[in-house]
Symmetry: C2
Subunit: 309 residues, 2 copies
Amino acid sequence: MPAADFQLLIVGGGPAGLTAGLYAARARLNVVLLEKGVPGGQVMNTDWVDNYPGFPEGISGFDLAEKMAAQAQRFDLTTRHCEVKSMDLSGPVKKIFLEGGETLTGLAVILATGARPNQLGVPGEKELTGKGVSYCATCDGPFYRGLEIAVVGGGDTAIQEAVHLTKFASKVTVIHRRDELRAAKIIQEQAFASEKIEFIWNSTVTEITGNNEVEGLGLRNTLTGERTALAVKGVFVLIGIRPNNEMLPLDQLDNDGGFIRTDKEMRTSLPGVWAAGDICSKNLRQIANAVGEGAVASIAAENYLGALK
Amino acid sequence: MPAADFQLLIVGGGPAGLTAGLYAARARLNVVLLEKGVPGGQVMNTDWVDNYPGFPEGISGFDLAEKMAAQAQRFDLTTRHCEVKSMDLSGPVKKIFLEGGETLTGLAVILATGARPNQLGVPGEKELTGKGVSYCATCDGPFYRGLEIAVVGGGDTAIQEAVHLTKFASKVTVIHRRDELRAAKIIQEQAFASEKIEFIWNSTVTEITGNNEVEGLGLRNTLTGERTALAVKGVFVLIGIRPNNEMLPLDQLDNDGGFIRTDKEMRTSLPGVWAAGDICSKNLRQIANAVGEGAVASIAAENYLGALK
């Protein structure tokens, strides 16, 4: 067996990475989890999680992240606070290069670096996130029963979620910067058929207004320059999601627009390398499937390590 | 759109089915979950769950199942206590035939009927389950640090888990009814190389002894008929897992020895039919990936239903 610092390196400490770490620590692998921030990933910044099974009344993202981290720690998972600069995953010994010059080596790697939603970058957005500004309709839709809301975007996700949100909201206004949608025709048809959905074309959001909760949006027509205001109680910003892949060797890994391709067993295109959670190319990005993928990747890595000579 | 009683029928109320139900109820689908016993599935009979993320100190299987069921109920998931006799899933309207003669129809179906471990069927087994008798090494291995235990079985899972259990136990005795293992050669080699693993060949377990916790096994040599006793603190019965598929139309569904084949999005070979949890053909059967699969199947079904004409 080749020499390396660790049997398993896990990159990223969100739900996928923490679950992979929990399973690896319980299996007593020589494992380290690398995280540049606080364990928990995007969950840390999620106000309230209603759809992670096991919490009947829901749980704050902060509390859930802390619980997951504490559980992994109970089984002595080593976590290291560091920033990964780059990697070489091509050979049997995987190399992870840290900011500051240090190199860590391992025989197996699980990539769980996550993703982040694209933001509008307008005044009020950051302050009101979790207070009416949301990036996930599946997660937060039910909070808006009987209210008027807006969806920003024109792709598959935005329009599909606009339709989904009509189950809760009294009115959904879709704001799109062009005069036609990018979404698949069949999804567009559903949206155009809904009496609850209105469209504001050729417009961008210039600000999100409100004190402690969203009260409205400032809009600008991109053709005329005209500025208007729209009163809404919530705004879903659905303008794409970006993989946290700046440190990944994308030339070595089969990927789909920067999201890592895996099979059902979370194997990547490289032997000894698995991926789990939001960094994967997939349809649904939820805590529930992130933890499942973390468990599957970890057990697969354990079996791989057991068979190494 | 064809007429049916429900948009979505979910068959089975373990973690996969309950999570599918939670997501479907939150999406306000016209959905019903069918369960013949108490919601929770195998989890209900699991003494202690240490590796479902979110519970730092672990949680009893009973409590976790109750929490999952209560969460789905909070979003008004309709569950129905009934036994499914058979199904016809081939057409656009799926038919589920109940014991007693009633037929339920739906436009989409999620199969989450689960699986059950094969049991030895010997005295003491049932009484001592969760008290030293276990069917899952990944789940329960860490409870046996420094103790002597037995593994019953000779296949891939049994021998792989025997190796895994050497990380905790001081000694692992593998009891196999034949004189050679069925497990893959590479797994056998790991087991034979371990100083902690001993083998008792050509032997079956005739009873599990102990008051309130396992104290030992009664063994019988299948060649000589000789009876012996083995003192152990735990016994892992790893002689295969059986899909709960008696009510499934296996002639209509692509399957692997009775376990349903799916793709990454949990689609089965039939349009409008998904599968999730232990009934699926897969490598790992844990609560963590069951809930992930339930969420993925549910969102996929929602999107399918939205696109129906």
